[in-house]
Symmetry: D2
Subunit: 362 residues, 4 copies
């Protein structure tokens, strides 16, 4: 199944790109939190299309309607369901649909998985549009976690050939301005270079990939567990649920391959009566459990497969090879819109781990 | 919680390195399979220590005793439980234990997680030794999957600075000899260079990391689902459950960051009446669902944190900084022993996805 | 948590009686089924209020809006979400609300559970109105199960002092007319006596309880499992999720207390090459697994707690004892509306068991 | 699947009556509890056979070996696994086995469920012997819950025609002596009458059923949730997992059928600043959530199907009708041994609900 996640915080995701509505139900969310609707809307807007020349002009309100779980602006502790109506759904923009399967998309695999009964219009249930409800759920989790001192921040660590600094080298980087940037980066001015690279791809009727890095601070030590509920397992499970994410690494990640134990280990020391590590190669997770240091991970994001160039594919109708031309405008670079999704998934994962920890009565 | 996984194939892992026994219960395994005990033993031996100068000499039989779920050598379809007694458990080899927490290990985080009541001896429940029951469970899954035409093969794609070829460039690489190699590699003779690099680390009282690459062939299209049960989510969840794994990537993985959509997309074409892709950048997964092409992924494995060098740490007893010297012999390179664990986890994940697919009645 | 059920068929229920909308998401439902909307509407109507003098006149359309999972009237195999808007919500009909907690209701326990942040209006998330989405989900399951030859039928086996025959004595009872009866009974004319008993309760500003009996025929042998996933465990879990259900029994149920083994055992015999039992005291379940005989169970339904009489309670505001008078009209007997809910839960449970069975590959 | 339960406290049950061993893994149990091994052994002994003329003389030690999760007699917070070796396994006592399926047993349904590969010896995985590990797990939960002021007590409320008083009429009944009684009853001397009734069944080569009533006191208000995680749903799920249980009812249970709302409702009142109900017809659960009043429920237990009389059955080998004579000694009345199992399941259920509640952070 595809739509649900979590044992302590429970999500149920539904909808298709061109269906009546998309939405999500979140159960297990704490009671009594007053929702900051403005900040919620701001998060939704970060993910919405039409923010810049880099993203599709498709202007959707993407305003979630909260159907349940909230009373007088406060969460009730009961299931929260929110839906987003599908308004701007011009099917003709999406090529010949399920006949000519789009390379890099789920058209073919979804067709097999659902025996040909899937809603193929605009990606249907596979559409990146389904990430909107995820941002809604994650934004609520973020607001609650912030009340506990947890802060989640992300930036585009790489876009094509343009590479930003890393939280690994700047663990205390000022992140206050990131949410306001369309292409959030740590190194000042680098966003211009990234935009240029993306525009070049666009002009070539192409798209470009990159890497998003996320940092979670303010976590207590002791969240997570060894083996099947490790922090890495829970977070990677969520990150790989984001369309286009094809790699996830924590701390030094694949860089560990070249490191010796003496370089990879993070020495412990006492600081103001608190156990800390003097380095954070592990990315804040030891043995699957948070150490109290910042959790740092990166997600590889592939270029959006919808491009203007002619592509080779097959016709499910004729069973013959064919050429595909995808019409309409598409994001040359999905990363700016993926950033809030990654942050939302991080917030959801931390909330799940937080509640699991709470259940560990002594 | 830490010990269980799966909704269709269910695992429950238990035990501590120096406890009475370690083991696993697997429920949902198909009925009627005759277990090939020799091949099972061979898999267990691949993971066991003492295979070479690269691994600890600790000679453990690691022979699983099957307590349930098997009758006359055949699976009954009921819960299969197997245990492995802990025999060679010389606690003094494991430093001062929970007082001086070992950098890179779970000593500190486990201490916090379990309120100081954890079994700290030799890593306790966090010990890599817990991967032995996982290999047992995975080996059974592999045997069943092979009867369905599924084959799982892995090699050490990188060890320190020594880099092997990739399945990405050699999708049809002959893997028949890999299981017999202590350092399985695709490029002939490269294992010698890897051994040398590992020995250098050992001589420096250090350890070294690397990357393991896994290829799964013979999978039908249609396994997995979008979002929370994507093939990548399920497999990464399991891979990150393996101690020392800090990164997971599928297909081009982080390489996607530099690729344009036109380079990243895998064109479709008909081949003998079957839909295939002419390239496999996606690593056999589109929209979270298998495409029928080989599933290819890589796991970054950090160097084992147990090294002979003096390390900086803290004393949980005195609350002061301290120096730690870990005595006894330890693996300078865990990769050869991690390979069968990665394969086992892959088999477990595919079995879970297979059963989920079976449940999708039309 | 309260809102989700199932490992193979997955439900997520949400909404409050006086919120924006109530609804349910069902994931794992088979792809390709054409929904019979008329029969679906008929099932919804059976549960809806205002059907007779025995039920509240509150006239709600209760027409579900399907938001996802259906294309051109056919299920896609992806999450199906349906919502029902709350229209007729006259709060003043519901007494003084959370101040004076209503005896027999969840006002007080919900207040504790949700730290005082619950939506108390009209029972909120606890409202029997939440059973409408359950009937929606169950009706879809019933339609699919019927295509497999499974039939679910129920009747009011007892209402107050009026006792109907039992499927235990009439395993082959003709059930074709039951769905059309407002008070479905097996013994002709008994519904009049039941209506009279209910009316007497109504005239006394009171309500009355009863027993609903359900029979599931056409099930193959082999569904379910011993212990934690027994047919009885799965079905009772669902039945006790229905507000007002306080007892569940299978086959002879509590009658087994007086039976000896020789009376309780169902002898086996061959019939047309098929293994059957010559009696069915066990109610079609042996060792937690279906035997192929009809599954028969009964649910005890308590009288609806909302009555016109003055009741003793406490004020959560003043912390003092108080008297409560509940205004407005309420069902004197919830049984006729509970029947389709019980059938829906039965269909949901069988679908879950069916899918679990499908996942048991050999 | 059959062997696992729980989202917060996790159980994995395994083993067959005549296999190597039976056992259970429990994950999520609180860390730091010192196990009272004597009381644990006492609980195991209550369930063990050979306690009296009413139970099979089969003398099994039934001493659990704890393999993991305990260090120096204290729980570590990590998975606890305990096994019990199967010693006294005289297969010939179990009739002709899978050829002639035993009426009332799971021989036939298990044969279908597991495609003929099941371990049929002595009931295999279906054997009541599997309840021994459940008593082990439940006893640990009971010890922890007692430290929180929760007390669980049960008695045989009915055996055949002999009917004991009910906790419904004696909510404050002294239960201190119950655990020491072989046939625990509330009304003094009634156990003699029950024993006589059981002996009569035995002399007739027959067996007899009954009802077990359980009371849980000291529970806080607020455990459980509406709908799918109601206290009744969680507890009934576990109770129906006990072989031979065919009915479960809470409070007045099926007695509610004859009660009017005015009789069924429990009035609230303030008592020493605490909200209580002046009656407890609901059995301590309102809207699926504990009210703080004692939780009271009853389980109908069918007569053990293994009897000495000749029975009609079929031969799976010849496919013809046949006569079955079960040799060896069997319990004429399983109730005394079922009492500790019901209590164990109650403790497991309450622990699950307790942890779920703990996870509900504000």
């Amino acid at each position: 199944m595809s739509s649900f996640f979590g044992q302590h915080l429970h999500l149920a995701l539904f909808g298709q790109s061109h269906g009546e509505a998309i939405g999500i139900t979140m159960d297990g969310f704490p009671a009594g939190m007053t929702i900051d609707m403005d900040r919620l809307a701001a998060e939704m807007k970060r993910r919405a299309p039409g923010q810049s020349s880099l993203t599709t002009p498709r202007k959707e309100a993407d305003v979630p309607e909260i159907l349940s779980g909230v009373l007088d602006g406060r969460t009730t502790g009961q299931p929260i369901c929110a839906i987003i109506r599908n308004t701007n759904t011009r099917s003709k923009d999406y090529g010949e649909g399920v006949d000519l399967v789009r390379p890099g998309h789920a058209d073919y695999t979804g067709h097999v998985r659902y025996y040909g009964f899937e809603d193929w219009r605009g990606g249907g249930h596979f559409s990146g549009r389904l990430t909107a409800p995820i941002v809604f759920a994650g934004a609520l989790c973020s607001q609650w976690l912030e009340s506990q001192g947890v802060q989640i921040a992300s930036h585009i660590q790489r876009l094509g050939s343009v590479i930003d600094d890393s939280f690994m080298d700047h663990p205390d980087a000022d992140v206050s301005g990131l949410k306001a940037m369309h292409l959030p980066v740590l190194r000042q001015g680098l966003d211009a270079a990234m935009e240029q690279e993306a525009m070049q791809a666009l002009q070539a009727q192409d798209s470009i990939g990159g890497v998003i890095e996320c940092r979670i601070t303010g976590l207590p030590a002791g969240l997570g567990a060894p083996f099947f509920d490790s922090v890495e397992s829970v977070l990677s499970h969520l990150m790989f649920s984001v369309p286009a994410v094809k790699g996830v690494e924590f701390g030094e990640g694949f860089g560990f391959a070249a490191l010796r134990g003496s370089q990879a280990n993070d020495p412990f020391r006492m600081e103001e009566g608190k156990v800390v590590t003097t380095s954070n190669h592990s990315g804040g997770v030891l043995g699957g459990i948070t150490s109290g240091m910042p959790v740092i991970f990166r997600c590889a994001v592939r270029a959006t497969p919808s491009i203007g160039q002619t592509q080779q594919t097959v016709s499910l109708c004729t069973g013959e090879n064919a050429e595909l031309n995808i019409h309409g405008r598409h994001d040359p670079c999905i990363l700016p819109r993926a950033v809030p999704v990654i942050e939302a998934m991080a917030a959801i994962g931390v909330m799940e781990l937080w509640k699991e920890r709470q259940a560990c009565v002594k």
